[in-house]
Amino acid sequence: MPEIYDVVIIGGGVIGCMIARYLSRYQLSILLIEKEADIGMGASSANSAIVHAGYDPVPGSLKAKMNVAANSMWDTLAGELNFPFERRGDYVVAVGSYELSKLALLMDQGRQNGVPGMHLITAEEMRKREPNITPDVSGAVWAPTGGICDPFAVTIAAAENAVQNGVRVLLNTTFEDFLMEGKRIVGINTNRGMYACRWVVNAAGIYSDVVMHKAGVRPEFKISPRKGDYYVLDREEIVINNVLFPVPGTAGKGILVTTTLHGNTIVGPNSRSQDNPEDNSVTPGCLDEVWSGAKKLVPSLNLRHVIALFAGLRSTGNAPCEAPGVDYVGDFVIEIPDQVRGLVNLSGIESPGLTSAPAIALRVIDLLIDAGEHLREKRDWNPIRPPRPRFRDLPHHEKARLVNEDSRYGRVICRCEMITEAEILAEIRAPIPATTYDAIKRRTWLGTGRCLGGFDMPRVVELIAQELRIPQIEVTKRGPGSEFLVRPTKLAEEHYDS
């Protein structure tokens, strides 16, 4: 007998986790499956970390609607889930007279989409506000509702809150096929067996086309992965106060210069189509493209200050916008399709997907209600996901208090980012246990500093092994197959044998 659920969510990215969190409010049994060793390992963990104001999507598109609706939800969400979020506002920076003329268009688009508070500012004002900006700036659009977040924390906090409220999360679990009774979905098959359910939510991101095709939905739909490369710079060397977008061209929002909530400047992404949905390697050509694009906005960027490189894949779809009169291909898909029963189909959720996630979750609930699902609220639903202390961010007297309470806060494991043993152990013991190096890294930002983990890696491997009671040689970076070590040394082996 397979386990039976009301809802199975395929995919533990920000969309799947946010849906799990919002659905956990209701009296439903929910299972979320994720093929990787941790949640949030796809696009949710490799993006620009921006909560978009909403002036960019084509007016009338689902992207525009979701973006603007979700933007105003973020303050409450950050408060409830306790993840880092700051509504700092963002700029679209024009260089030269041609780009200046384009700003009016963006203003108009923002108005149509219902973005509040946007206005034009002069080049002089822009130079004052962002001293590192190019002297060739000709003007800018200021959107005060733009924000930045920690995207790993958003996904993890949403998933943890879901687990707190009874959702089951299975990692290392790959969707294989639907179990059908005629036109009705009655469950799924995975590498770990069958799970029966009444509803399946397709939140498989870059694989969401494969999943929907297995249900016979939208055979013409295709995800074409678009890769974007990024640089991360040393926060001691350059500080950018706000998000700086270039005037958008044909391929997305262009190469932007922004800051993380930790103060590191990020530049990227470019946009390259590729076939392989697994290949997120950085390439020299893309890196050059990103760098020259970013230099256009901030000429003082210095390659010597680069501390990390990464690339992410956008799940770009080809669904036409369904709003009448809007000529746009590549909109979000958020639907309960007619061809089968029991499928909530989400696809093509590229940028502004992270921003839109909470609104998408609410829309999924509306769709379920429209489809006749009687959703009854739980009495004891807890929307608060409690925060865990971040030693580094505390003032000295608070640090002292923490160390006095638990001496493991006194041992710093990651020197650059100042992450303590207690914080690492807390993540390994969290509602969704972090069992790989990268899982701990995404939750604590350990190993993301200047030394890229050179110092902390052996110590973290040792801690994971101790906590999970496994040999160090079984500890992985990102799941099975990514073990750090191959065997004990000859001397150590003799020592272990004797």
Binding site: T283, R304, L309, H396, K399, M418, S482
Partner: protein, 425 residues
Amino acid sequence: MTPKEKYDVVIIGSGPAGLAAAISAKKAGAEDVVIIERDVEPGGILLQCIHNGFGLELLKTDLTGPGYAQTFIDEARSLGVEIWTDTMVLDMTTQRRVYATSKIRGFLDFQARAIVLAMGCRERTRAQVRLAGSRPAGVYTAGTAQRWVNVEGYLPGKRVVILGSGDIGMIMARRLTLEGAKVERVLEVMPYLTGLTRNYVQCLLDYDIPLQLRHTVRNIIGKNRVEAVESVMVDENWNPIAGTSEIIPCDTLLLSVGLIPENELSRKIGVRMDPIVGGPYVDDNFETTIPGIFAAGNVVHVYDLVDWVTEAGYLAGKSAARFAMMERRKEIRHIPLVPGNNVRYVVPQEIDKQNLEGNEIRLQLRVKQPVDSPVYIEVRNRDNLVKRKAEPYVRPGEIVTAVITPKEYDEVNRSDFLQIAVVAR
């Protein structure tokens, strides 16, 4: 909590620079000298350098890294230097307030009269050489691999390519070969060796490990674990030469692509940095641009031999001790002179202890009541007699003079105040 509120010289890092600084600070007269070390044992990166060749210049012997470190750890300890291991400095102020944290000592907040920065250096990473490709397990800096093999006792890979002909890279090529791994080759982007020739001979030539100059890694292949790297030959501008690309199957890529002084703390307190070397500006005492904060060793610039790091540590430690002792002098409080039995007043009202080092201090007083029999004029530090002078009589109309000499310095130095009184003989 620290045992003391103030330390003369606080040294951050117990590698060769820190140990030498502690030894010389102690020898130069600093009393409370403490080294703060974030690792669980003192010695710094020397502990994982189990090969020999250390100390040839300075000690005229050939030691291993741990052996070299132990020589200085022993000397420091015998001189009374405190070493706080497993303790990390989080922050400091320009006024030399130090904040540190430790699992065993708790949260520490104390004052240093002088500080020596001796945090050493760290390795350049794949991002700093803009290494493209995927981000699997199996890409390590040579130093991380060295720690795993020599300290933790684990082999990080079986089939290895090393990028960079720095010393640690070549030494690890030999070490991994001895451990049974196959080192496919060492790639160096420059047209010349970047490490020491002796290491090339002893670590690569002797073990038939090929070195390819003007070669670099263009791509890292493998999603979860390194499966191969793509190497390529470069021209004089480091641009890849078409047709020279080669896929080298391996499970590990070690990077030995340079070292950078580690100056997180230095930047935090705002010492001026030299953008070329990446270390603080120092004068010939190894003092930074913030008074009382000194720096020595690889934190200033990356050395080739440990012996010269030790020498730099000696100089910085000596300078720091000198600064600390000047601070101590400034802190010395004046000692009040308090009129006791039958004394109306005494001038001066307080004495500067420093003046007693080699000088006499004359005290003049008037009594309240005449005494016509012989008396003592006594200066006491509570119950201890500092000085006694006999007088045949005392009268309010006549000033009495007493003298404190350098002989009495120790007793005066111990006192909070001195009382001067007339007592019967």
